[in-house]
Protein backbone atom coordinates (compact mmCIF):
# COMPACT_ATOMS: atom_id res chain seq x y z
CA UNK A 1 0.00 0.00 0.00
CA UNK A 2 1.23 3.47 -0.91
CA UNK A 3 0.03 6.51 0.99
CA UNK A 4 -0.67 9.45 -1.34
CA UNK A 5 -1.84 13.05 -1.26
CA UNK A 6 -4.83 14.49 -3.05
CA UNK A 7 -2.85 15.26 -6.20
CA UNK A 8 -2.13 11.58 -6.77
CA UNK A 9 -5.45 10.32 -5.37
CA UNK A 10 -7.76 12.32 -7.61
CA UNK A 11 -6.45 10.97 -10.94
CA UNK A 12 -6.44 7.46 -9.47
CA UNK A 13 -10.08 7.85 -8.44
CA UNK A 14 -11.03 8.45 -12.07
CA UNK A 15 -8.92 5.58 -13.38
CA UNK A 16 -6.04 7.79 -14.51
CA UNK A 17 -3.40 7.21 -11.81
CA UNK A 18 0.10 8.67 -12.14
CA UNK A 19 2.17 6.28 -14.25
CA UNK A 20 4.56 5.42 -11.42
CA UNK A 21 1.63 4.36 -9.21
CA UNK A 22 -0.42 2.59 -11.87
CA UNK A 23 0.03 -0.89 -10.40
CA UNK A 24 -0.13 0.08 -6.74
CA UNK A 25 -2.91 0.02 -4.18
CA UNK A 26 -3.21 3.54 -2.83
CA UNK A 27 -4.35 4.92 0.50
CA UNK A 28 -5.58 8.39 1.43
CA UNK A 29 -6.03 9.65 4.97
CA UNK A 30 -9.42 10.77 6.20
CA UNK A 31 -8.45 14.46 6.48
CA UNK A 32 -7.05 14.50 2.95
CA UNK A 33 -10.22 12.83 1.63
CA UNK A 34 -12.22 15.44 3.53
CA UNK A 35 -10.15 18.34 2.14
CA UNK A 36 -10.41 16.98 -1.39
CA UNK A 37 -14.17 16.59 -1.03
CA UNK A 38 -14.47 20.18 0.18
CA UNK A 39 -12.48 21.44 -2.77
CA UNK A 40 -14.77 19.61 -5.16
CA UNK A 41 -18.09 20.20 -3.43
CA UNK A 42 -20.74 21.36 -5.85
CA UNK A 43 -22.96 24.33 -5.06
CA UNK A 44 -26.68 24.30 -4.44
CA UNK A 45 -29.34 27.03 -4.29
CA UNK A 46 -30.01 28.84 -1.07
CA UNK A 47 -27.57 30.12 1.49
CA UNK A 48 -25.10 27.33 0.74
CA UNK A 49 -24.62 28.74 -2.73
CA UNK A 50 -20.97 29.46 -2.16
CA UNK A 51 -19.36 31.04 -5.17
CA UNK A 52 -15.76 30.51 -4.30
CA UNK A 53 -12.91 28.77 -6.01
CA UNK A 54 -13.99 25.49 -4.48
CA UNK A 55 -17.32 25.32 -6.24
CA UNK A 56 -15.96 26.30 -9.61
CA UNK A 57 -13.82 23.18 -9.79
CA UNK A 58 -16.83 20.87 -9.86
CA UNK A 59 -18.98 23.08 -12.05
CA UNK A 60 -17.02 21.99 -15.10
CA UNK A 61 -18.38 18.46 -14.65
CA UNK A 62 -21.76 17.19 -15.75
CA UNK A 63 -24.25 16.42 -12.99
CA UNK A 64 -23.75 12.71 -13.60
CA UNK A 65 -19.98 13.00 -13.35
CA UNK A 66 -20.26 15.07 -10.16
CA UNK A 67 -22.43 12.39 -8.57
CA UNK A 68 -20.07 9.62 -9.64
CA UNK A 69 -17.07 11.56 -8.35
CA UNK A 70 -18.60 12.00 -4.91
CA UNK A 71 -19.61 8.36 -4.75
CA UNK A 72 -16.02 7.42 -5.51
CA UNK A 73 -14.67 9.90 -2.97
CA UNK A 74 -16.91 8.53 -0.24
CA UNK A 75 -16.65 4.89 -1.15
CA UNK A 76 -13.73 4.24 -3.49
CA UNK A 77 -13.04 0.87 -5.03
CA UNK A 78 -10.67 -0.75 -2.50
CA UNK A 79 -8.58 -2.09 -5.37
CA UNK A 80 -7.87 1.51 -6.35
CA UNK A 81 -7.91 3.59 -3.18
CA UNK A 82 -8.51 3.02 0.51
CA UNK A 83 -9.63 5.78 2.87
CA UNK A 84 -7.63 5.12 6.04
CA UNK A 85 -9.71 4.76 9.20
CA UNK A 86 -8.50 7.64 11.42
CA UNK A 87 -9.54 6.14 14.76
CA UNK A 88 -6.50 3.97 15.31
CA UNK A 89 -4.21 6.85 14.33
CA UNK A 90 -5.44 9.43 16.83
CA UNK A 91 -2.81 8.89 19.54
CA UNK A 92 0.03 8.60 17.03
CA UNK A 93 -1.06 11.70 15.14
CA UNK A 94 -1.42 13.61 18.40
CA UNK A 95 2.08 12.60 19.45
CA UNK A 96 3.50 13.60 16.07
CA UNK A 97 1.76 16.97 16.23
CA UNK A 98 3.16 17.47 19.73
CA UNK A 99 6.64 16.75 18.38
CA UNK A 100 6.78 18.45 14.99
CA UNK A 101 5.40 21.72 13.64
CA UNK A 102 2.89 20.02 11.36
CA UNK A 103 -0.82 20.40 10.75
CA UNK A 104 -3.40 17.80 11.74
CA UNK A 105 -3.59 16.79 8.08
CA UNK A 106 0.17 16.27 7.91
CA UNK A 107 0.31 14.53 11.30
CA UNK A 108 -2.36 12.05 10.21
CA UNK A 109 -0.42 11.29 7.03
CA UNK A 110 2.78 10.67 8.99
CA UNK A 111 0.89 8.63 11.58
CA UNK A 112 -0.60 6.38 8.92
CA UNK A 113 2.83 5.79 7.38
CA UNK A 114 4.43 5.01 10.74
CA UNK A 115 1.60 2.79 11.93
CA UNK A 116 1.14 0.75 8.78
CA UNK A 117 4.72 0.94 7.54
CA UNK A 118 3.56 2.40 4.23
CA UNK A 119 5.63 4.44 1.81
CA UNK A 120 4.43 7.98 1.05
CA UNK A 121 4.29 9.32 -2.48
CA UNK A 122 3.17 12.91 -2.90
CA UNK A 123 1.95 14.18 -6.25
CA UNK A 124 3.03 17.76 -5.58
CA UNK A 125 6.10 19.30 -3.99
CA UNK A 126 3.79 21.56 -1.97
CA UNK A 127 2.83 18.58 0.17
CA UNK A 128 6.41 18.26 1.37
CA UNK A 129 7.03 21.03 3.87
CA UNK A 130 10.28 21.26 5.80
CA UNK A 131 8.71 19.95 9.04
CA UNK A 132 7.21 16.98 7.18
CA UNK A 133 10.61 16.27 5.60
CA UNK A 134 12.26 16.46 9.00
CA UNK A 135 9.69 14.14 10.59
CA UNK A 136 9.95 11.66 7.72
CA UNK A 137 13.74 11.61 7.98
CA UNK A 138 13.78 11.19 11.74
CA UNK A 139 11.11 8.50 11.60
CA UNK A 140 12.87 6.77 8.68
CA UNK A 141 9.83 6.95 6.44
CA UNK A 142 10.04 6.21 2.72
CA UNK A 143 8.81 9.53 1.32
CA UNK A 144 9.17 10.93 -2.18
CA UNK A 145 7.47 13.30 -4.60
CA UNK A 146 6.51 11.71 -7.90
CA UNK A 147 6.47 13.47 -11.24
CA UNK A 148 3.13 13.51 -13.07
Amino acid sequence: MILVDEYAALPALVDMPPATLADESLALTYSRAYRLTRALLDPRPGRLEIRGRFTRLAEALTATDRQLLHERLADPDPAVLTIVDPRSLIRTAAAIQNTYAVSLLQAETLAAAVTHDWAIRFGDHGSLSAPVRQAADELRLDLAVIEP
Binding site: E6, Y7, R35, L36, L61, D75, D77, Q106
Partner: protein, 62 residues
Protein backbone atom coordinates in the same frame (compact mmCIF):
# COMPACT_ATOMS: atom_id res chain seq x y z
CA UNK B 1 -38.17 31.50 17.02
CA UNK B 2 -35.82 29.79 14.61
CA UNK B 3 -37.22 29.07 11.15
CA UNK B 4 -36.42 25.62 9.90
CA UNK B 5 -34.73 25.69 6.49
CA UNK B 6 -36.09 22.47 5.06
CA UNK B 7 -34.44 22.98 1.69
CA UNK B 8 -31.05 23.23 3.36
CA UNK B 9 -31.73 20.29 5.63
CA UNK B 10 -32.96 18.11 2.76
CA UNK B 11 -29.96 19.05 0.63
CA UNK B 12 -27.49 18.24 3.40
CA UNK B 13 -29.16 14.89 4.04
CA UNK B 14 -28.99 14.14 0.34
CA UNK B 15 -25.23 14.68 0.23
CA UNK B 16 -24.55 11.61 2.33
CA UNK B 17 -23.29 8.76 0.19
CA UNK B 18 -24.70 5.45 1.33
CA UNK B 19 -22.73 2.61 -0.24
CA UNK B 20 -25.38 0.00 0.54
CA UNK B 21 -27.77 1.85 -1.76
CA UNK B 22 -25.34 1.74 -4.64
CA UNK B 23 -26.67 -0.48 -7.42
CA UNK B 24 -24.03 -3.10 -8.08
CA UNK B 25 -21.33 -1.99 -10.46
CA UNK B 26 -19.60 1.32 -9.92
CA UNK B 27 -20.35 3.96 -12.50
CA UNK B 28 -17.61 5.33 -14.71
CA UNK B 29 -17.05 9.02 -15.27
CA UNK B 30 -17.11 10.29 -18.82
CA UNK B 31 -13.75 10.53 -20.53
CA UNK B 32 -14.04 14.32 -20.58
CA UNK B 33 -14.82 14.43 -16.86
CA UNK B 34 -11.96 12.10 -15.94
CA UNK B 35 -9.50 14.04 -18.10
CA UNK B 36 -10.62 17.32 -16.53
CA UNK B 37 -10.06 15.99 -13.00
CA UNK B 38 -6.69 14.50 -13.96
CA UNK B 39 -5.69 17.86 -15.44
CA UNK B 40 -6.70 20.00 -12.46
CA UNK B 41 -4.80 17.64 -10.16
CA UNK B 42 -1.57 18.48 -11.94
CA UNK B 43 -1.91 21.96 -13.46
CA UNK B 44 -2.10 23.90 -10.19
CA UNK B 45 -5.88 24.34 -10.10
CA UNK B 46 -6.49 21.83 -7.33
CA UNK B 47 -3.38 23.04 -5.53
CA UNK B 48 -4.73 26.60 -5.43
CA UNK B 49 -8.03 25.37 -4.00
CA UNK B 50 -6.37 23.23 -1.33
CA UNK B 51 -4.04 26.06 -0.38
CA UNK B 52 -7.03 28.36 -0.05
CA UNK B 53 -8.62 25.93 2.41
CA UNK B 54 -5.36 25.58 4.31
CA UNK B 55 -4.90 29.35 4.49
CA UNK B 56 -8.03 29.75 6.57
CA UNK B 57 -7.84 26.44 8.42
CA UNK B 58 -4.26 25.72 9.45
CA UNK B 59 -4.97 22.13 10.47
CA UNK B 60 -6.00 21.40 6.88
CA UNK B 61 -2.80 22.89 5.46
CA UNK B 62 0.11 21.02 3.98
Amino acid sequence: MVRVDRDLRDWLRGLAVQPEKRNGERGKLSREGAEYLERIATDGTLKAALEEIGATEPDLSG
